[in-house]
């Protein structure tokens, strides 16, 4: 590992200068001759039916060119578009997913371990109910609707010569609405007789079927104030393994707590503006996206055309966090308006629009009952979660349970969950979906540690996954899946040293003036890799290595970092490498979606495969020209030469020319059969330019690839004002071999801060009487600012994953839950058990806990306040 020349070393990514000088062009920077601007009109009500739209005055205005309504959209696809992922551990619904694979996206190519959201596919045995689907089949979310299901849901768009004209025109539109019943709190939506968020019911099942599910008065009465009732859940949202009852009977301590987790917006810096025009029957789309390759079929589906008609240009994306995966269904609006008007159309998405349509993480109420042995080992977990599905989603409860099952390695576990539809902003996968279970679990574990007299690090260590640790629900045959590797104990040990855990722990709880400190630790995890994608590169007669990257450039830089594996395999100096990305016309290979922290793993593998393919071809050409067998030749120093006789060889430039002479597989005129159709088309276009390395990743892979992070936090609380600060944070990442240290650091810091945001302030607020959102601006919704960030330290375990050739796993998501849990534990350490039952913890709840004199917080379990 240490003899890698590129992997594990810092370098300057090729986008840096363009970004820091402002030359980088994002979707909204693009201009075209005759470009119109369109704006959206969102619903002023949380749920309504549009009876009539009178746009006559708007359309009569000079400069107004066209209106688009739901009637103009292509027939809605069967598939749920970028809606939250299926609950892991339940069977993926083939019907709901088939639309995701278009031309260039054969289903067989899809990741074995995870789907486009990074969620594992496969799992629990089907329930008998699955044979005869229950509920009403409903349409998936569309770009525009005549029955808005949340405030701000787009009803129509107007294209005009400029933005002020479009806005003025929208203000002249009269809409006759029929208000419909609504609900903004999922728990309220389960009460008997409560309104449903949708006319068909209140719970979305797999395959876009909706049922009505209400709990009984007895269910609610059985729960104490502040305790989550445990009513019925849909089939498929429940599983268990081991003997849960025995686990509790045998436990030395059982802790049972309920906890409210906020809904938070993704708020990428770049809103989802998009510019579209048509040329020769092809749609040219400039938008921001988490994946280049996988967005092409998705955009085609949104617009009702074939993937071969889509040209996607997306060299930069200003953040996505799971909310642009793949692209977003609203790209259909400028595409269809451009078709209607024959002019390019820029869809301008404001921050207000982005808050509405830009996806949010599902809030939850979790109730965790956990049994502990005297030494802190978890004997059983009984986890019950209600998640807020928004109007179109199922929530993250399934993913949360799966993460808990691997993080804490219970001997027995039962999970029940239900995602309830609400008339609030649409939910989607947000960086580490399901990680928000962290506070519900961590509150219980740190309380147990204090009760049992065990150190917080020790209790996490004794329950930590190690090696091929089991994960998730039982599969059809009763066995459980397992991870490829886990080095969590190593991460905890390293982190405790780096953070100075024991010294800080000794000092915590001491009051200095009005200030008191607390420390906390937690472990986070998420899926961190998929397999089976393609690598494509050419070594050309100029002696350079041209690597094609079909990944999206969402800011993680995996689009570049992973190509280092190909250069490494060929011992190519980095300054001779040219990377092509960001434009679907530029012959890119089929790639994974940049979700689920897949890319670093998937594409180091794919690039390594392409690099090895090119290396073999170099050796074969040398053997042909210079005699001997291919394996007698070494590749290095931009040459292929006889091992032991460096003088007998060819330069890469010479070998590239010979490859062109030889043709066939050497220059890409013959291609391997197993590569994806998109890769095949790209390779065909590049054939003859030099020596081609092209391959599908078929390396062995046993287990679910997951990464882990141990997080350590210290908080300082002012007991007189309730203000607090996260003063220090240390993360130690178990992400296999570190691919690019600086980038790994950036991902660790960024992910940690996102996790902390959930603990310290980020929120959505609704007025439940009117069903309208109040926290519309950043100073209302309060994502952390730079000064809220603690002093950061990080380190990596840096042990290679044994199930992937270069040992790299992903890093983007696992830091989130670790930081969330660690900060919650630190706050509990400072404030005392039972001080709060919800996050974000803010000055008011801290002060309320001090005013109550340490009496447990037992408020109602309300959402969005």
């Amino acid at each position: 590992m240490s003899d890698y020349k590129l992997i594990g070393h810092n370098y300057i990514t090729p986008d840096l200068v363009a970004k820091v000088t402002g030359q980088a062009k994002y979707a909204e920077d693009v201009r075209a001759d005759g470009m119109l601007v369109c704006r959206l009109l969102g619903s002023p009500m949380p749920h309504a039916r549009v009876r009539r739209i009178d746009a006559s005055a708007a359309l009569a205005m000079p400069g107004v060119r066209a209106i688009l309504t739901a009637d103009d959209l292509p027939v809605p696809p069967v598939a749920a578009a970028p809606s939250p992922p299926p609950a892991p551990g339940t069977s993926p619904a083939p019907a709901a997913r088939s639309g995701a694979a278009g031309e260039g996206g054969r289903r067989g190519q899809r990741a074995i371990a995870v789907d486009e959201h990074g969620q594992p596919i496969g799992g629990a045995a089907p329930t008998p109910a699955a044979a005869a689907p229950a509920g009403t089949l409903v349409k998936a979310e569309a770009a525009l609707t005549m029955e808005p299901l949340y405030e701000g849901e787009p009803i129509l768009a107007i294209a005009a010569v400029d933005e002020p004209t479009a806005v003025a025109a929208i203000e002249r539109i009269a809409i006759d609405f029929e208000p419909l019943p609504f609900v903004v709190d999922p728990l309220e939506g389960l009460r008997p007789g409560s309104p449903n968020a949708r006319r068909e019911g209140n719970v979305l099942l797999q395959g876009n079927r909706i049922v009505e599910l209400k709990w009984t008065d007895a269910d609610f009465a059985a729960a104490a104030l502040g305790q989550l009732p445990a009513g019925a859940v849909p089939d498929g949202d429940a599983w268990s393994f081991g003997d849960v009852d025995a686990g509790f009977t045998d436990a030395a301590l059982v802790v049972d707590e309920s906890f409210v987790i906020p809904t938070t917006s993704h708020i990428p810096l770049e809103p989802r503006s998009a510019m579209a025009y048509w040329q020769n029957g092809k749609l040219y789309m400039h938008c921001s996206t988490q994946s280049l390759a996988q967005s092409v079929p998705a955009i085609a589906r949104y617009c009702g055309i074939s993937p071969s008609q889509v040209v996607l240009i997306s060299p930069y994306t200003g953040g996505a966090f799971g909310g642009k995966n793949p692209a977003y269904l609203h790209v259909a609006i400028p595409a269809l308006l451009a078709k209607k008007t024959g002019q390019p159309v820029m869809m301008k998405i404001t921050r207000d629009d982005e808050m509405n349509i830009g996806r949010s993480r599902p809030g939850m109420i979790g109730r965790a009952k956990v049994g502990f042995a005297k030494d802190g080992r978890i004997t059983a977990i009984d986890l019950f979660v209600v998640s807020d599905g928004g109007p179109y989603g199922r929530g993250d409860h399934g993913s949360g349970a799966r993460l808990a099952s691997v993080l804490y390695q219970p001997k027995a576990m039962r999970f029940r969950g239900v995602g309830v539809l609400t008339n609030t902003v649409p939910r989607g996968s947000q960086r580490g979906p399901g990680m928000q279970i962290a506070p519900a679990m961590e509150l219980v574990i740190s309380k147990a540690a204090r009760t049992l007299g065990i150190d917080q690090v020790a209790i996490h260590r004794i329950n930590a996954p190690a090696g091929k640790a089991p994960v998730g629900p039982p599969q059809r045959d009763g066995s459980r899946r397992y991870v490829t590797s886990a080095f969590v104990k190593e991460a905890l040990d390293k982190g405790a040293d780096l953070f100075g855990w024991h010294e800080r722990k000794a000092a915590s709880g001491t009051r200095h003036g009005s200030k008191v400190r607390g420390v906390g630790v937690a472990v986070g995890t998420y899926s961190a890799g998929s397999v089976g994608y393609d690598g494509l590169l050419t070594i050309e007669p100029d002696g350079k290595l041209y690597i094609q990257s079909g990944c999206g450039h969402l800011g993680t830089n995996s689009v570049f970092d992973t190509t280092r594996a190909a250069a490494e395999a060929l011992d190519m100096p980095w300054d001779k490498v040219v990377i092509t990305q960001g434009d679907s016309t530029r012959n890119l290979p089929w790639s994974c979606s940049q979700g689920g922290s897949q890319t670093a793993h998937a594409h180091t593998r794919a690039n390594w495969a392409a690099g090895l393919d090119a290396k073999r071809k170099l050796q074969e050409i040398a053997a042909k020209d210079l005699g001997g067998r291919a394996e007698d030749y070494t590749v290095g120093g931009e040459r292929v030469y006889r091992t032991g006789a460096p003088g007998r060889g060819l330069t890469f430039a010479q070998a590239a020319k010979r490859a062109i002479d030889l043709g066939g597989a050497y220059d890409g005129h013959e291609l391997p059969s197993e590569i994806n159709a998109m890769t095949k088309a790209s390779a065909t276009a590049l054939a003859g330019r030099g020596l081609m390395g092209v391959a599908k990743d078929t390396f062995k892979h046993d287990g679910d690839t997951m990464s882990f992070v141990a997080g350590f936090a210290e908080v300082e609380v002012d007991v007189e004002t309730g203000e607090f600060a996260v003063v220090d944070y240390t993360a130690v990442v178990d992400v296999g071999t570190v691919l690019h240290p600086r980038n790994c650091q950036g991902q660790t810091y960024g992910g940690s801060l996102l996790g902390m945001a959930h603990a310290i302030g980020h929120r959505w607020v609704y007025d439940r009487h009117y069903g309208l959102a109040l926290a519309r601006r950043f100073y209302h919704s309060k994502p952390p600012s730079l000064l809220d960030a603690p002093r950061f330290q990080w380190a990596a375990v840096n042990l290679p994953d044994p199930e992937t050739p270069v040992g790299v796993r992903g890093v983007g998501e696992p830091p989130v839950g670790a930081a969330y849990g660690a900060v919650v534990n630190a706050l509990v350490d400072a404030l005392g058990d039972d001080a709060f039952r919800r996050t974000p913890v803010m000055a008011d709840s801290v002060l309320a806990s001090f005013e109550a004199g340490g009496k447990p917080a037992r408020g109602a379990l309300a959402f969005h306040v």
């Binding site: 704006r39 009109l41 969102g42 002023p44 933005e163 002020p164 806005v167 003025a168 929208i170 203000e171 002249r172 539109i173 009269a174 809409i175 404001t350 921050r351 207000d352 629009d353 009005s514 007189e720 004002t721 309730g722 203000e723 600060a725 302030g761 607020v765 609704y766 007025d767 439940r768 009487h769 009117y770 309208l772 109040l774 926290a775 519309r776 601006r777 950043f778 100073y779 209302h780 309060k782 952390p784 600012s785 730079l786 000064l787 809220d788 803010m842 000055a843 008011d844 709840s845 002060l847 309320a848 001090f850 005013e851 306040v865």
Partner: protein, 330 residues
Amino acid sequence: MAVIRGSMPSFELFQPTSVDAALALIGRHGAAARILGGGLDTFDALQDRVVQPAALVDLGGIAELQGIREVGGGLEIGAMTTLAEIARHPIVQSQFAVLARAAGAVGSPQIRNQGTLGGNVSQSTRCWYYRSGWTCYRAGGNSCFADTPTAVNREHAIFDLDRCVAVNPSDTAPALVALDAQMVVRSSRGERVVAAEDYFLGPDIDITRMTILDAGDLLTAIRVPATWAGAHFQFEKVRDRKVWDFPLVNIATAMKMSNGIIRDIRLVVNAVAARPRRLHEVENAVRGKPRDAATATLAGELAIKGAQPLRHNTYKVALTRNLVQRAIRG
């Protein structure tokens, strides 16, 4: 007609270079004109399209509204002086530190570079119902949406509730009241000087505006008298984020001490009512008393007398009490 946000409405922009010219413009356009200072309050409202003025009068080009001048041991601060300039001004720092600290606690560095003292004290409330365009009392309607059984009013008022429960969000306003500053207001009818304490209006006086500024009025300068120069000052702001946030509660104190005894004091809290709340009763009670824990306790309890918390802001009562205690205790 449909409501859309996130786009600047059309208006006629005027950029006068003298106060007289500005007054002529706002006199001519009356209620249809809006005055533009640093823009931090105005651009939000414009982008939300909740205000759509026919004319915007930009004060940025008027030199006489800029800068800090020494006047008889005190200061005269032009209304368009930026918060950043005030926060770093040596005399403000050395003689009137409560104002320097208050100005330095506003928003973020970018906001302080752009935001002005006149704008900071004259800004409207940040009540999220009002700012989102709900037709409440303050917006000319006949209800308050922030004071209903389901309202989310964590950031709202605990004192002087009178139909509207919005709060004044200014950080510099309580500092100016503590310093007994004078507000210089000009209109076509002439100039008047008003004590900072009387500059702000509660809903009992006028529910649709937060200051005495009427159509045609212009705040031109703020005079800080020498009275409190070099006194003991405190300013504290409690907020949810360390930067770029409004106060949950803030407090400004000016105190004159001798031999451990509080000789004179002015104590002002903000973000607890529609106007900065000067704590006269506390001032009277602690004057002549030692600056110790007993006096602090007394002050804290007096400070919250009459508080009427709403469903979600009971914490503001304890917070106000604790901040007052801290200010007295030192």
